[in-house]
């Protein structure tokens, strides 16, 4: 069995990513984007550097311009990005977009991968239609019209939707609103007639959009994968996405924890450092224990995905479930342990909480994934 440790190469990638994020995309960068209501929502200079380091193509085959570093590799990048709350299209384009095309795309569609890897082409996945993740409850309709289709519907919580060059949209081509079969994925140009993309603001200051499709005509070539049969590749894609979000939650929780521990060592109350209070020590020790378990689960999920292990879906869900729980615990405790200072916008610790919740909810929260784990385990 593969050892649950990083290879030397993976460790080097992790270190390189940490260096890049901490120097070129520190927390202050996100704060600035937020305060200035930046139109793009990320810093192109940073994105170029990330691309130059090959991060956007980590998952993409060398034949399509990537470095083919696998999920363990990309997971390290996501984790390190979580640590600095880095804002970039890496997840939307480099993980979801790239994997969607790799899983379901035909040869000509896969040409997009090169653009993803070199950072010039951004992709976003438009799946959700309500506040809670239910990927197979699809009301957006795609009706046959001539050789192509015409799309109508609304999507929400589309990560990096407003900067995407291509949207991947799930729509119903047959079946009832709750059926797993009858769903089809479409590549949609956001500039096409009838598509409107509205950027929405979230607590984390990141990019999410609502997408409205009003009689959007697409050609037959726009179908990604097989008509009516998107459920299977889509689920695989969501497993992958969930694991990478778990990695991001691991990163941001680890950083929030480290900051809380550091604060405990510098803050005095009643004449002593608050790190000397046993009640706080035990809470910190419990959190550390939880973070260690999460770390193992995230790593294992990536290894299983890379190995095409049949436990990969279960492990990805378990990791996302645990990550959501741990992130909620650690970011709440992080603010509490900072006391009044933690409540001020001036301190960074609150930003970790504000980032955690959207990521917890994205592609399913603790409850969604715990339910899946139970089903996988036959109960």
């Amino acid at each position: 069995m593969q050892k649950l440790v990083l290879t030397e190469e993976q460790q080097m990638l992790k270190d390189a990513a940490r260096g890049l994020f901490s120097e070129q995309a520190p927390v202050s960068q996100l704060r600035k984007l937020r305060d200035e209501k930046d139109a793009l929502g990320y810093v192109p200079e940073f994105w170029n550097q990330a691309v130059e380091l090959g991060l956007a193509g980590t998952l993409i085959p060398e034949s399509h311009g990537g470095s083919e570093f696998g999920h363990v590799g990309m997971g390290q990048v996501m984790e390190e990005g979580g640590r600095t709350l880095a804002a970039s299209p890496l997840f939307a384009s480099g993980v979801l977009g790239a994997c969607a095309l790799m899983l379901a795309g035909n040869d000509s569609q896969k040409d997009i991968l090169k653009g993803i890897a070199d950072g010039s082409h951004l992709v976003a996945l438009a799946i959700d239609e309500a506040g809670r993740h239910q990927p197979f409850r699809v009301a957006t309709k795609a009706e046959v019209q001539g050789e192509g289709f015409v799309l109508n519907g609304r999507k929400t919580f589309v990560v990096d939707g407003h900067i995407a060059n291509t949207l991947i949209v799930s729509a119903r081509t047959s079946g009832g609103e709750r059926d797993e079969s009858g769903i089809t994925l479409f590549l949609v140009d956001p500039k096409a007639e009838g598509v409107s993309v509205e950027r929405t603001t979230f607590p984390d200051g990141r990019n999410y959009a609502k997408v409205t499709l009003e009689n959007v005509a697409v050609s037959a070539d726009a179908v990604l994968g097989n008509k009516d049969q998107a459920a299977s590749p889509l689920q695989k894609l969501l497993d992958i996405g969930s694991a990478h979000l778990a990695a991001e939650l691991l990163g941001l929780s680890s950083e929030a924890f480290d900051r809380a521990v550091a604060y405990m060592k510098e803050r005095k109350q009643f004449g002593v450092y608050i790190s000397s209070f046993q009640a706080l020590q035990h809470r910190a020790a419990h959190m550390w224990s939880e973070l260690e378990q999460l770390k193992s689960m995230v790593l294992k999920a990536f290894m299983a995905l890379d190995a095409n292990d049949d436990q990969a879906s279960m492990l990805a869900s378990a990791a996302k479930a645990k990550a959501s729980q741990v992130a909620e615990l650690v970011t709440n405790e992080g603010v509490q342990l900072h006391g009044g200072m933690g409540m001020t916008d001036e301190f960074d610790i609150g930003l970790f909480m504000k980032r955690a919740r959207p990521v917890q909810l994205m592609l399913g929260d603790f409850r969604y994934h715990a339910d899946r784990v139970a089903s996988f385990k036959g109960f």
């Binding site: 809670r132 916008d345 001036e346 609150g350 930003l351 909480m353 715990a370």
Partner: protein
Amino acid sequence: MTDLETFRQETRAWLEENCPQSMRSPFKSDKDACWGGRNFQFQSDDQRLWLERMAEKGWTAPDWPTEYGGGGLSRDEHKVLLEEMSRIQARPPLNSFGIWMIGPAILKFGSEALKQQHLPPIVRGEIRWCQGYSEPGAGSDLAGLQTKAEDKGDHFIVNGQKIWTSYADKADWMFALVRTNPDVKKQEGISLVLFDMETPGVSTRPIKLISGESPFCETFLDNVRVEKDQVVGDVDKGWTIAKYLLTHERSMIGNMGSTAAGQKTLAELAVDGVGLEDGKLADPMLRTEVASWVIDSIGYELTAERARDEAKSGQGVGNVSAMLKYAGTELNKRRYELLVAAYGSEGLLWEGDDRPAGALPQQWLRTKGNSIEGGTTEVQLNIIAKNILGLG
């Protein structure tokens, strides 16, 4: 007819006649509250009229003595007044830290001169007060405050910094804890002083919270002159008064665990967010959590009720405010985490008028402060362990 029944009838008639129609509905937002003070902008003539009429009867401070402008009502009469106001949904005529906090402290600990000077303007809503307790370095260790008051004969010169001063930027006067003696045990060198916010050397800066704008300010005190006759109680003995006021504050904040009348319950909101299937919340895992919260909140509300009833009957362990503060604020934090879960991403929309859960993200973030302000959860647990359980 008993005197109390007569009082009720007279009150009812008076309110009927004097409470403007537009003042007979719950606040629609925080902005509907009347805070009074030198620079207050009344929202409407009705709001001003309602304050003036109530103040004239002393009913902005119904149980204060009439000699200081109060209503002079007995406990039972006070209750009747509140009941009759509630009957017609009359809005409180005045929100006031003067009435809630410093007024009672002056009544209990202040000199006759201070009472004469400060209480009537408070009752009339002419002077708005703010509280200068916390300091950046002190946190939970309130008594460790560093703001220094130097004795200059007939006055003090005060230097230091206060934080978490609610509405300091809008208030006319501050009541503040200052260190008048640095050479004794920390609790024994503190005084409670009063000063006008227009005194030279006083400046304020609003604090932005993780949830956005807030009423909190930092207040900087730079060689501020405070007259000696503006000390409440004795010099160096302010800590006793501070504790009296803190207990008061704690029980007010503790109330957060309850769902206010008219507000939708967590269960109702969860149903709005998640929907029902076969009459049950469509997410069974969330249903478990909401049910557990509902049970705990029943326990909390009944305990608050029991504490009040026991106090009236002279029973019970007495000091339960720490427990109510702890349980209530933790409950409120859980409530908002569950709401975020129930609404999902749509519940996190930060801006806009058509958000399905309204200002939920801001409210959710704001609750994180509940277990910090007014004494942290950790301090409440310390108090319970030491004072009630005798552990130490």
